[in-house]
Symmetry: C2
Subunit: 162 residues, 2 copies
């Protein structure tokens, strides 16, 4: 079971967007991360549909976060990119075959389904426990307090050149 | 992010194998669950490679569990079918682009990677907390104490007809 690679890109973009003073074009985000602009554009469109970023049109257009980083969880980003559906799909095997349980007796979810849902909920709870602001704080601890302002400066410089 | 459908089938097979007095051929497990025999055979081969079931050759051949159901976790089965790899692949985006962090400064995992690993570990811990014996107990609570013995009786009857 693998998450889409777009989740990694989208999370890095959200961290970077906290440093930007103005909307950031996808091309600058792609250049900064050295990743495919067309694929990154799809991830930002997904973040936009989920209301995490907003697209600003026009000459100075680009993307910006719609709310403070402390109000965006990692789960918000994962579900924006990968969808909110459970990691486990129950096909009601218990209702099949020569010893099928009659539908009227299946008032509770199947025991296998319940076990898998508990794990899915634990995964989502852990993703919900970290916000983009937490990631920003972690990056500052890891790379020093100047690392993200340096990114913000680079983004401003790119806009100045445009 | 979706788990392989084989996980559901493999978990149901492990529960059913606790009721069997003799090794169970894949064809009987497939008929009981009304699923594709060839696809189910692949899942049982994966369980066998992981040491969860053992293939018994010969006229009365088939699969049996290699250890008590209380010693087989749902995580064992999920990792047998889906592999043990993390749900998140870090491509070290921080080391790319014009502001790349030099490798020698990347002594810790990336903050994004750490957040995703915490969730992966929470998911695995929840899967590890439930055993096949727990699922058997849940099925008995849900469907009554005769439900699984009835399956065992059906399996024995199929062998008698062979």
């Amino acid at each position: 079971m693998k998450l889409s690679g777009g989740v990694e890109w989208a999370l890095h973009c959200c961290v970077v967007l906290t440093t930007a003073q103005s909307p950031v074009p996808v091309t600058h985000l792609a250049e900064l991360h050295d990743v495919s602009g067309s694929y990154l554009a799809k991830q930002l469109q997904a973040l936009s549909r989920a209301g995490i970023v907003q697209s600003v049109q026009g000459h100075a257009g680009g993307y910006r976060l719609t709310r403070p980083a402390a109000q965006i969880t990692v789960l918000d980003v994962v579900e924006a990119i990968d969808g909110p559906g459970s990691t486990f799909q129950c096909t009601e095997i218990r209702q099949r075959g020569p010893l099928a349980t009659p539908p009227e007796q299946c008032t509770k979810l199947c025991a296998v389904h319940r076990a898998m849902l508990r794990a899915d909920h634990a995964w989502r709870a852990a993703l919900r426990a970290t916000t983009i602001a937490d990631l920003v704080a972690d990056v500052e601890r890891d790379s020093g307090p100047q690392a993200l302002p340096r990114v913000g400066g680079w983004l401003a410089g790119q806009l100045g050149q445009a």
